[in-house]
C-alpha cells in the first residue's frame, strides 16, 4: 500500500518536475513566470494527437510533439515576449504586466484550440496500457504508462542536467540568465541563447503533456491544473533553481499521492497550499532559492 502510493507519487511528481523545469528555465532567463506554459504544452499535445489520428502511431507523434513544443516556445519568445519586455520597463505595471500578458496568451491559445478542435474531451491514444501492473493477485495502481512517464521525465531531466552542467550551450544559458550584461560583453549572443532557453522550456512542457494525456483526456484546459502544480512545485523548490524544480516536483507529487490515499481527493490543492505556506514560512524563496539579499 505504501509502495503503491509512493510509486504513484513519483509518477505524478515527475510530471510536476517537468512543468516546474519549464517555468524555472523561463524565469531564470527573463524574470517572467510564463502562465502560457500550459497553453503551449497543450497545443503541442493537440498536434501530437493529430499525428496519432493520422498515423496511428504514438511513438511517431511523441518526438514530433516535442519538436513542435520547442518551436512554439521559440516563437512565443520571438513574437510575443521580446515585444512585451520592450514595452514594459517600470511602474506599477512592471511586475504584473507579464503575468497578465502571459495569461492573455494562455486564453488566446486555448480559445484558438477550441475554435479549431472544439472543446470536447479527446482521447490521445497510447499503446501502453493504463491499467496497473499485476503481481499475482495484487494489482498495483502503477501502470506501464506511469512507468513510461517516470522514465521519460527522468530522461528529459537528465539530458537537461547534462546540457546545463557540461556543455558550452549550458554554460552560455547559465551565464546569460545570471548576468546578461557580462555575458554579452564576453561575446555570448544572449538573445539567441535566451531563445534556446524558451525552446527547451517549450519542449519540456510538450513532453509533460504528451506523456500524461494518454492517462486521462485531452481538452483545451486539460493541462491547467498541471501547470498550477508545476508552479507550486517550482516555488517550493525555489524559482531560481533547476534542482529545486525537480525536488519540488517530487515533494509535491508524493505529498499529493499520500493525501489522496489517506485523506481525500478533493483537498489535494488545499494541502498543496499548506505545504507551500510551510515551506515559504521557513524559506521565503523556496528550498533552494537564493538568499534574502538578492532581488526576486
Amino acid at each position: 500500500m505504501f509502495i503503491d502510493t509512493l510509486l504513484i507519487g513519483i509518477s505524478s511528481g515527475a510530471i510536476y518536475s517537468l512543468m516546474a523545469l519549464a517555468l524555472v528555465l523561463v524565469w531564470r532567463s527573463t524574470r517572467i513566470v510564463n502562465f502560457a506554459q500550459s497553453g503551449q504544452a497543450v497545443l503541442s499535445t493537440y498536434i501530437g494527437y493529430e499525428i496519432t489520428v493520422k498515423t496511428h502511431n504514438y511513438w511517431i507523434s511523441l518526438p514530433l510533439a516535442i519538436v513542435c513544443g520547442a518551436l512554439i516556445g521559440s516563437l512565443v519568445d520571438l513574437l510575443f515576449m521580446r515585444f512585451l519586455s520592450k514595452r514594459i520597463k517600470s511602474g506599477p505595471i512592471a511586475e504584473i504586466a507579464p503575468v497578465i500578458a502571459t495569461l492573455g496568451l494562455l486564453g488566446l491559445i486555448q480559445s484558438l484550440i477550441g475554435l479549431i478542435w472544439g472543446n470536447a474531451f479527446l482521447q490521445y491514444a497510447s499503446p501502453l496500457s493504463a491499467k496497473g501492473f499485476t503481481f499475482g493477485t495484487h494489482t498495483v495502481p502503477f501502470s506501464p504508462q506511469n512507468l513510461f512517464i517516470v522514465i521519460a521525465s527522468a530522461l528529459v531531466l537528465g539530458i537537461f542536467g547534462v546540457v546545463f552542467r557540461f556543455t558550452n550551450l549550458g554554460l552560455s544559458l547559465r551565464a546569460a540568465s545570471f548576468a546578461p550584461e557580462i555575458a554579452q560583453l564576453a561575446g555570448i549572443r544572449v538573445g539567441r541563447v535566451r531563445n534556446i532557453g524558451w525552446s527547451f522550456a517549450g519542449a519540456a512542457g510538450a513532453v509533460a503533456g504528451a506523456v500524461i494525456t494518454p492517462t486521462s483526456t485531452l481538452s483545451p484546459n486539460s493541462l491547467d491544473l498541471l501547470f498550477v502544480s508545476g508552479f507550486i512545485a517550482a516555488v517550493i523548490g525555489g524559482l531560481d533553481s533547476l534542482v529545486g524544480a525537480v525536488v519540488g516536483g517530487l515533494v509535491l507529487g508524493i505529498g499529493f499521492s499520500f493525501i489522496l490515499q489517506y485523506i481525500s481527493s478533493s483537498v489535494t490543492f488545499l494541502v498543496g497550499f499548506i505545504i507551500l505556506m510551510i515551506v515559504l514560512l521557513v524559506r521565503p524563496r523556496g528550498i533552494f532559492g537564493k538568499g534574502v539579499g538578492r532581488n526576486a
Partner: protein, 329 residues
C-alpha cells in the same frame, strides 16, 4: 472625477448624486440590464480590491476569487444556518473575509512577486475544495443565499413593478457606492500615499519612517474586506454559493478588469467592471452573427477577452486611462 482635490464630503455628495440617478434609471430598464448593472456593481468592488492591493500596495494576488468565496460562504452560512437578516449576513461574510485577509496578509508580507503569485494561485484552486469536505458548507450542492423579494417599504418607494432584480440592483449599487467612497478616501489619505511610497521603493520608504510590513498587511486586509464583500453580493445575485461559483477564472477575471482600467486607477475600475460584464454579451451577439456554431459560441468570449487583454497590456500598459485630471500617478 474623484481626485484628491475633493474632500470626503464632496465625494460623498457626488456619489450620492450618481446613486440617485442610477436608482431612477433602474425603473426604466429591463430585467437583464438591472441584473447586469448589479453584476457591474459587484465587479467594481472586487476590482477596486485589486486596485488597492496591486496598484497601490504593489502586491500581486491571483487568488482573490478565493477571498470572494470566503465572503460568499460566510454570508450564506449565517443566512441559511443561523437565520441572519441578509444585511447582517453580508456584513458577516465581509468580516470573515477581513479576518482571513489579515492572516493571509501576514503570511504574504514576507513574499515577493512570483512567490506571492504562486501562493495565491494555490489558494485560489485549493480553497473552494474545503466546501466539499465539510457537510455544514453544503458540499457540492452548496448553500442557499436566496434573499427573496424586497420588503414592502422598499416596494412603496420603488414603484409597482419592483422586481427582485431591481432590488438586487439597488442593494449592489448602494453598497458599491459606499465602498467606492470609503476606498477613495483611504487611497487619498496618508495610508494610500504610504502604500505607494513603499511600492515604489521599500528601502527609501522605511528610511522615511513608513512601516512597510504593516502597510502591506493593512493593504491585504482592506483588500480582502472589499473582495469578501463583493463575494457576499456575488452569492446574493446567484441565490446560492457553490464550490464551482468561485473558480480560478474568477480570480483571473478581476485582475484582468483591474489591468484594463489601469491597475492604479480607481475610477477605471468602473470601466473594467463594465467590460467584464459586457464581453460575454457582445461576443455572444458576435458569435450568432458569425453563424452560431458550437465551437464559435463557446470560444469567442475567451478569444475576445484574451486579445483585449494582450492589446491593452502591450499598447496601453497603464490602462485605458480616463484622462480628465492630470495628476501624479
Amino acid at each position: 472625477m474623484l481626485n484628491r482635490r475633493l474632500t470626503p464630503l464632496s465625494r460623498a455628495g457626488i456619489l450620492a448624486f450618481i446613486g440617485f440617478v442610477l436608482l431612477i434609471l433602474s425603473r426604466f430598464v429591463g430585467e437583464l440590464r438591472n441584473y447586469q448593472g448589479a453584476q457591474v456593481a459587484v465587479y467594481v468592488i472586487a476590482i477596486s480590491s485589486i486596485t488597492l492591493l496591486t496598484g497601490y500596495s504593489g502586491q500581486i494576488s491571483l487568488g482573490h476569487g478565493a477571498v470572494m468565496a470566503i465572503g460568499g460562504y460566510g454570508a450564506a452560512l449565517s443566512f441559511s444556518l443561523w437565520n441572519f437578516p441578509f444585511e447582517l449576513a453580508i456584513l458577516f461574510g465581509a468580516a470573515v473575509g477581513t479576518l482571513s485577509g489579515f492572516i493571509l496578509g501576514v503570511a504574504a508580507a514576507r513574499l515577493s512577486g512570483p512567490y506571492l503569485a504562486g501562493t495565491t494561485l494555490a489558494l485560489a484552486v485549493g480553497l473552494p475544495t474545503i466546501a466539499d469536505q465539510f457537510k455544514v458548507l453544503g458540499g457540492e450542492q452548496g448553500l442557499s443565499f436566496d434573499i427573496g423579494d424586497a420588503p414592502t417599504w422598499v416596494r412603496k418607494i420603488g414603484g409597482a413593478d419592483f422586481t427582485q432584480y431591481k432590488w438586487f440592483f439597488w442593494i449592489c449599487i448602494i453598497v458599491a457606492l459606499l465602498s467606492l467612497w470609503a476606498i477613495t478616501n483611504l487611497l487619498h489619505s496618508n495610508y494610500g500615499r504610504n502604500w505607494r511610497a513603499a511600492r515604489n521603493n521599500a528601502v527609501a520608504a522605511s528610511l522615511a519612517g513608513i512601516n512597510v510590513a504593516r502597510g502591506k498587511v493593512l493593504a491585504f486586509t482592506v483588500s480582502s474586506a472589499l473582495a469578501s464583500l463583493a463575494g457576499a453580493l456575488f452569492g446574493l445575485l446567484l441565490g446560492i454559493v457553490t464550490p464551482t461559483a468561485f473558480p480560478l477564472s474568477l480570480s483571473f477575471a478581476i485582475v484582468t478588469g483591474a489591468v484594463l482600467a489601469g491597475v492604479s486607477n480607481l475610477a477605471g475600475s468602473i470601466v473594467g467592471a463594465v467590460v467584464l460584464v459586457a464581453i460575454p454579451e457582445v461576443s455572444g451577439a458576435l458569435a450568432t452573427h458569425l453563424g452560431g456554431s458550437q465551437k464559435v459560441t463557446a470560444n469567442l468570449p475567451g478569444l475576445v477577452t484574451s486579445l483585449l487583454l494582450i492589446l491593452v497590456v502591450l499598447f496601453m500598459p497603464n490602462g485605458l486611462r480616463i484622462k480628465k485630471f492630470k495628476g501624479k500617478k
